[in-house]
């Protein structure tokens, strides 16, 4: 029977990683995710696994590069300023086709910004923050349980596509405590990591392994001895991910005339507002993107076809709303409710259900 505990979202990262068989965690302290490296420092060494506090986020992501090259399940976590520091390494990991998981607990930006929650890293996460236009599957949980589950899913998808996978949390989800059912999720079989470094004489075929972040002619992943064929291969992989891995939750969409679009903590705020508006007879629903990349364009396009209008709600000055506009293709109204509508002008301010409900009423 699965164990049920009370856990913070940041702790759920650890439980999910353990369930996924994470071999090593490498990370650097930054608020509001310090509970994550602290959790791993307590729980990994006593299980014979690796925890290293790196000298920087730049170092942490390079440790992922090394650990992933050796075929281990490795991960790190950070908050928004640290995300910036990780981009060069992330570009290398994507180019070298190495699987790893990065949990980003968003805080307010830009710069030092605030140490509290926000949703201001959407574009930095979904649009290849480092050089080269690579893609990462980005999962957006909305509860402690989902953080636990999506860390496991992220490890699976990373291994499936030999690509970094991102779990995008935020300062509220990280610190809130909810009931968590700890369980190992089975997502199906994965390809063998026959490309990983073990030491030449330990390879099944006795051939040495050679991993790098440029076109590779080295077995067993070789064949891309030139730049354009290599990019063609990468592009095909990204296309495959975009087609196969879209995930979203549709909520009360059946007859909705106004469709809210929100992810993370704000999606839960929006659900409350949708329920309140529905009890007033307003035909409103919610699309919650679970994968931010690939973004669930089609469900929104279908809503456009039904004549829906959109209200994007996110705790930023407007980032995800750009993807909603892409889906609308100028054929549907796209409204936006953002960070300026917080209930307090401070870093602790939130977009509350009452404020979303007011906007729904205004648009109805």
């Amino acid at each position: 029977m699965a164990e049920r505990i009370l856990a913070q979202g940041n702790e759920a990262v650890g439980w999910g990683a353990l369930s996924a068989g994470c071999d090593g965690f490498f990370g650097y302290p930054i608020t509001p995710q310090n509970e994550i490296p602290e959790w791993f420092s307590r729980e990994l060494p006593k299980r014979g696994k690796v925890f290293v506090q790196s000298q920087s986020e730049t170092g942490a992501v390079m440790m992922l590069y090394g650990g992933a090259a050796g075929g281990s399940r490795v991960m790190t976590s950070t908050a928004s300023p640290g995300w910036g520091l990780m981009q060069e390494g992330l570009s290398h990991l994507a180019a070298a086709e190495l699987p790893c998981v990065i949990v980003l607990v968003q805080r307010g930006g830009p710069g030092q910004g605030s140490v509290q929650h926000a949703q201001m890293d959407y574009l930095a996460v979904t649009r290849s923050g480092g050089g080269g236009g690579y893609k990462n599957i980005s999962l957006a949980p909305a509860s402690v349980q989902e953080i636990h589950d999506m860390v496991q899913l992220a490890f699976h998808l990373a291994d499936k596509y030999c690509n970094p996978a991102i779990v995008l949390s935020d300062g509220i989800l990280g610190l809130v405590a909810e009931t968590l059912e700890i369980k190992t999720l089975d997502f199906g079989p994965l390809p063998e990591k026959d490309w990983a470094l073990l030491g030449r004489d330990r390879q099944k075929d006795g051939q040495r392994r050679y991993i790098h972040s440029y076109p590779s002619g080295a077995p067993p992943r070789g064949g891309y001895v030139n730049y354009v064929p290599w990019l063609e291969h990468m592009g095909q992989k990204y296309q495959q991910m975009a087609e196969a891995e879209v995930r979203y939750e549709g909520y009360r969409l059946e007859d909705a005339e106004l469709v809210l679009v929100a992810y993370g903590y704000v999606s839960r705020v929006c659900k409350e507002a949708v329920n309140a508006a529905r009890s007033d007879g307003i035909k409103v629903g919610l699309v919650r993107p679970i994968t931010l990349w690939p973004f669930p364009y089609q469900v929104l396009k279908d809503a456009v076809g039904r004549g829906c209008r959109f209200l994007a709600v996110e705790d930023s000055l407007g980032l995800m709303v750009e993807d909603v506009r892409v889906a609308a293709e100028g054929r549907a109204e796209v409204h936006f409710l953002g960070l300026l509508s917080r209930h307090l002008p401070t870093g602790t301010g939130m977009i509350l259900p009452g404020r979303v409900l007011k906007e729904i009423r205004r648009l109805s």
């Binding site: 071999d23 090593g24 490498f26 690796v50 290293v52 790196s54 000298q55 920087s56 730049t58 170092g59 942490a60 390079m62 440790m63 992922l64 590069y65 090394g66 650990g67 090259a69 050796g70 281990s72 490795v74 060069e88 390494g89 290398h92 070298a96 470094l197 073990l198 030491g199 030449r200 004489d201 330990r202 390879q203 040495r208 392994r209 050679y210 991993i211 790098h212 972040s213 440029y214």
Partner: protein, 252 residues
């Protein structure tokens, strides 16, 4: 015998050196790679070794027939950290340039030394950025003309040269640090011993080991290969003295 056929004989004698390592005429980075191949085979470690290179001419060592990952610019000690912690029975070492190791990678280098990682770091010092065309490096000599110190390195333009094995020796977690050169048979043999001792410190789980090797860069120095060796003897070695700076069997 011609020089060409000699080279072929020598290459085939090493199972880890299956092709000539690339380099400009007179470049000594391939020589460092050859020494590494030799030492790995002498110690029977080539089958379990993992190389992490930096970015730069040093990454040519990735052509050795040994498991290898080409790193980012400066991140090799971080990568080696993770590989060694996750594969403690493998020999894990970096091969980096001077700029890679102690300019862009200074944080990574110092981080590994501070944590006393059980890895080996081999730094090739050619007193400039070779791959990018000969710019100022942390190891550039005072007065040395580079493409970004056209009047020669001076205090105002770039401070003073950095001394990596001497710096490393001050870290308690470092078991071994040394600097070698390849200017003649005696220095070649000494450098080979330094690298062998550095690997042995890792095998014996004593601590981190660092070896710097002075390496000729004739094209960017605008000298012939032979003149480059004389320049190392006359200019570099006085600034970068050869020898062992630390060699301990126990860190308590």
């Amino acid at each position: 015998m011609t020089g060409e056929s000699k080279a072929k004989v020598n290459i085939s004698a090493l199972r880890t050196l299956v092709m000539p390592l690339p380099g400009c005429p007179g470049c000594q980075h391939p020589t460092i790679g050859r020494i590494i191949a030799n030492v790995l085979e002498d110690m029977e470690l080539d089958g379990s070794a993992m190389i992490v290179t930096g970015i730069g001419c040093n990454s040519a060592v990735g052509m050795l027939n040994v498991d290898c990952v080409i790193g980012s610019h400066g991140g090799a000690p971080d990568m080696a950290t993770a590989l060694k912690r996750l594969h403690p029975d493998n020999l894990v070492f970096t091969v980096q340039g001077d700029g890679d190791c102690i300019a862009i990678g200074a944080g990574s280098f110092i981080g590994a030394l501070t944590r006393a990682e059980m890895i080996t770091i081999i730094m090739c010092n050619n007193a400039n950025y070779g791959t990018t065309g000969g710019q100022l490096a942390p190891t550039t000599l005072m007065g040395q003309v580079t493409t970004t110190t056209p009047e020669g390195r001076n205090l105002a333009m770039g401070g003073y040269p950095v001394h990596v094995p001497e710096l490393a020796a001050t870290f308690k977690g470092v078991a071994y640090s040394a600097r070698g050169a390849l200017t003649g048979p005696a220095n070649y043999q000494r450098t080979k011993r330094y690298i062998a001792r550095a690997f042995q410190k890792q095998v014996d789980k004593i601590g981190l080991s660092v070896v710097e090797v002075l390496s000729a860069c004739p094209p960017n120095w605008h000298l012939s290969p032979v003149e480059s060796l004389a320049w190392i003897e006359e200019k570099m070695i006085p600034e970068f003295p050869l020898g062992e700076f630390k060699n301990v069997d126990v860190i308590d």
